[in-house]
């Protein structure tokens, strides 16, 4: 089990349910390693700032993590963690290796930020 405060995805079924129930999802698939920990930490901090996004992690070495590992968008990845951003169940962006807070927020703003503004004007 990953030692983070994020929602843990433990199976393919949980992964599917998460995508079904949430419009905007960010999943970090990794280990408790040097390149992954900074990403988890940023995600934990961003949970409050992006309430319209569901943040979750998944252990890279469990068999069910194939739902991330086998994505076409991750085919050429060779650096942990694999991070996948979903909108309405579809992959909109995937990154490999360590990412900074600025890099992550830039992706969140690009793919998920617009919806918040639209909601706010309603």
């Amino acid at each position: 089990m990953l030692r983070t405060n994020l929602t843990h995805i433990l199976s393919e079924q949980e992964h599917a349910k998460l995508l079904q129930e949430n419009e905007n999802v960010m999943v970090c698939c990794g280990r408790m390693g040097p390149m992954c920990i900074p990403v988890y930490e940023v995600m934990e901090e961003l949970e409050n700032e992006y309430p319209h996004v569901k943040f979750a992690d998944m252990e890279f070495d469990i068999p069910d993590a194939r739902v991330i590992r086998d994505l076409p968008e991750c085919r050429n990845f060779a650096g942990l963690p694999f991070v996948v951003y979903y909108k309405n169940g579809k992959v909109v962006k995937a990154t490999s290796s360590i990412q900074s807070r600025d890099q992550i927020t830039s992706i969140l703003d690009q793919y998920f930020g617009q919806e918040v503004k639209e909601t706010a004007t309603k």
Partner: protein
């Protein structure tokens, strides 16, 4: 405005140690950290020479230090951006994320360092797609594949040997004709049948499509360029200090490291520095912890003098 007795910039081994000492001494302490708590410590898979602990992961040690500092009362704000600051004012002043202001009577700088990159075409593009800076993280992606390790220090040779667990062949590319690593690391690498060497050479370009396919390696003596098919490249060429923001403020040496005295004092009164951002020879968790201790004790002594000086000033007014 939020005023603290002490502000520590950075939350690696030195910063967290200083935070533990100061907060335990009831000094109101804020740690501002631009990255992940733990710094370079978190990047270390196993720490085996920390006295009293036979073996511990860098992540665990960092986590323990963080919890210890917080338990004594230190406030830690991580993943922030210091957008402006004034170390010469009294109190010292910091603006975070362009809006939040924090002040303090004393400052300890422990901004550490970051992995040095080659800075050649293709390096950013293929990070995570063939280029890595962490053997323990990404080694298993290169099972039975051919890889290059760049560097000639302890980390490079140690990691090259460890990567032979996965790779079919490891080629060490090093810019000099000799290694800087300890002899036992050099011998271990030279005696490993899976390891080859390309000396006096540098990678000058990474080439690929959706992932890394080949590299261009230039011989430093004759300028000849060799093109080599490769699956992965691991880069271990040392660290650069995170001191850019202090360039026009603090005294730095030719390597951009902060110059300090034996008390970890910088050239500005009330500003101390410790850890990998200072000018020193040995960069270890244990040395950072020692320097963080000295910086904290010096800062506490300065605060005492500072308070006394204020009292004297108040008395003289009366």
């Amino acid at each position: 405005m939020n005023h603290y007795d002490a502000i520590i910039i950075g939350a690696g081994a030195a910063g967290l140690t200083a935070g533990i000492y100061l907060s335990r001494a009831k000094v109101k302490t804020l740690i501002l950290n631009e990255g992940t708590v733990g710094g370079q410590m978190v990047l270390t898979h196993e720490i085996a020479n920390y006295p009293g602990i036979e073996s511990i992961s860098g992540y665990e040690l960092a986590r323990n230090m963080k919890l210890q500092a917080q338990k004594f009362g230190a406030v830690i704000k991580s993943n922030i951006k210091i957008t402006s600051f004034d170390l010469k004012s009294n109190p010292k002043r910091f603006i975070v994320n362009g809006k939040d202001e924090y002040t303090s009577d004393v400052v300890i700088i422990t901004t550490g360092g970051r992995s040095r990159t080659l800075g050649v075409p293709g390096e950013n593009e293929f990070k995570g797609k063939g280029i890595s800076y962490c053997a323990t993280c990404d080694g298993d992606f290169f099972q039975d594949k051919e890889i290059i390790v760049v560097g000639g220090g302890n980390s490079a040779l140690e990691e090259a040997v460890s990567l032979t667990k996965y790779a079919s062949k490891v080629t060490i590319v090093h810019q000099f004709d000799h290694f800087q690593a300890f002899e036992h690391y050099v011998n271990e690498a030279k005696n490993n049948p899976k390891i080859d060497f390309i000396m006096e050479s540098k990678i000058v370009e990474f080439i690929g499509d959706e992932k890394l396919r080949k590299v261009k390696i230039q011989n430093q003596r004759n300028g000849e360029v060799l093109e080599k098919d490769i699956d992965g490249v691991f880069i271990f060429i040392g660290y650069v200090p995170n001191t850019e923001m202090f360039e026009d403020v603090l005294e730095l040496n030719q390597f951009k490291e902060i110059v300090v005295d034996k008390n970890m004092a910088t050239n500005i009164e009330g500003v101390y520095a410790a850890g990998d951002s200072i000018a020193k020879r040995y960069r270890q968790v244990t040395t950072a912890v020692g320097e963080g201790t000295v910086a904290a004790l010096s800062a506490a002594e300065y605060l005492n003098k500072f308070e006394k000086a204020e009292q004297v000033a108040e008395e003289s007014v009366v």
